[in-house]
Amino acid sequence: MHTYIIRRILISIPLLFGLLTINFFLIHAAPGDPTDIFYNPDMDPEARENIRRIYGLDQPLGVQYLKYIQGVVLKFEFGYSIAKKRPVKDEILEALPNTIQLSALALLLELSLGIGIGILAAVKQQSTFDNATRVTALTFYSMPSFYLGLVLLFLFAGGVSATHWFPASGMVDIVRHESMSTLGRLGDRAIHIFLPSLTLGIGAAAGISRYMRGELLEVIRQDYMRTARAKGLTERVVVFKHGLRNALMPIITIMGLSLPFLFSGAVIVEQVFGWPGMGRVAVDAAFQRDYSMFLAVNLIFGAMVVVGNLVADILYAMVDPRVRLS
């Protein structure tokens, strides 16, 4: 198992390297460059060239690429953000934890809601609950997250005064947060993270609930479930012990694949809720042609895909004894 994990991580290094290379040339091929933000019509062309020289943008592309890669590989340096006027690493270390927080909570919602509802719908097949959750799941699944976010903002963050329960943006109450007690701060964070994580998690939960229902219904028909009943086990043990573990296996794969989607979904949701995470950083970097920032953000998204797949494979091997990682 350990050698398998180590090998998988080693394999992912050239993968991420390739990603970095392709992205490097892609973003440089896009019109404009990072110095555009300093540009104004009265500017001396020579001054502009000076700025370009300062950031090394006047050098041939190949040289720039080699320098960049050298920095990443040898010093684990990801360059300097021209737009933010600080090292890329600092900016990311500030934004990434916020996004991880949001995504982790969304993942928790996705799994608990999705699996819970899926099980209930399967066990009570064709019931009102089953039919109601089917329609609800379809609705949320097909709703774009930015739209759902706006609806939730309207309903619970000011649009309807009777249900104005949540703040509309930010991670904390900027004015009062510092003066709050520890418990108060925790509560402040909780009400701020609730709507964005719900927006992010509920669509995925809707998908998971349908998969879970389908898988469990499939498993309930299996011969070994009949064997379990014939032993005299209660229906609860039959479903939750014998059924669930088998039904969860495909869910693990889906979850692993959904991890990067959750992360990139956060980009949009963060915009809607003014969440200071990777979403803002990513969008700004793309629009401002902030080369180093853009590359680092994409590297992180790429790493998410790799990690998501690896986690799914490891979990799968833990649940299914027929799979041996070697």
């Binding site: 009949r226 064997t227 379990a228 014939a230 032993k231 005299g232 086990l233 573990r245 027929r322």
Partner: protein, 339 residues
Amino acid sequence: MTDVMDQTSPQIEVRNLKTYFYTEDGVVRAVDGLSYRLAKGETLALVGESGCGKSVSALSVMRLIASPGKIVEGEILLDGLDLLQCSETEMREVRGNRISMIFQEPMTSLNPVFTIGNQIMEAIRVHQDVSRKEARDRTIAMIRRVKISAAETRVDEYPHQMSGGMRQRVMIAMALACNPEVLIADEPTTALDVTIQAQIMELLAELQSEFQMSILLITHNLGLVAEVSDQVAVMYASKVVEHTSTAELFASPLHPYTHGLLTSVPTLGMPREQKLNVIPGQVPNPLHFPTGCRFHPRCPVAEQRCKQEEPLLREVKPGHWAACHFIENGKSPIKGADR
């Protein structure tokens, strides 16, 4: 039906059992007025073609019929206790404890994600108040008893690490873990190859005398019936058409269907030119059974009466029950049926 064998009280007696499936196409009468008796320590073979209701009748005894199926009528007496009157909780006490079941498909009947030890132990711990350690010891003893070598290590193996024959042994170990009074074996060897079949049947026979249990053997394999069973009940179209001792059935089959079944089995030493008997027509669709005797469209001796009047299962000679209008003085309506 009254007594088949009044000399011994039956371990399990099924009376007029009806299990119907309420499908969108109509009511499927999978078991429709089934009656049989199984004496203590004996083996009763329930034989019939595919789809005649054998397996459904077995699952009915366990009360494991799932929607849209329903047991609509009848009595299932386990040592006098009517299982159809039991609550679900009482029924769970019976399943795996007093009546156990092994299934046709050993490859899919074990849960792939739990060790075989875990699955056998589960059967012990649900019915008996024993410690984990003791349950494990008993599990290992059970595995040894079904003649799996290296029981101490195999207890921690998963089903996929075992062959079909081994898995069926595990199923048997699981079924017998609580020393049941009745074992229902639903085509236990159908999915196995012939040499393994013989081993499994031999093992079952050994364990039967060791555990003093009754076996309800469900099969379509007449060779198996002749070898291991004491009594035979022949099923056709959801009902028993003939019920007697194995020796009697093979010596003088009285029902035309039984006769057809027996003569459609090839025997060694049979001349090559001799054609194998075939029962013409097909098993009737349980959605629309024929009127009168359900066998009449395929029966060589059927007359007008058979289309209108359903024959009852009656004692046509001592200890021999059959459902046909034309059995008189214990003689089959088919010439030369008594062998």
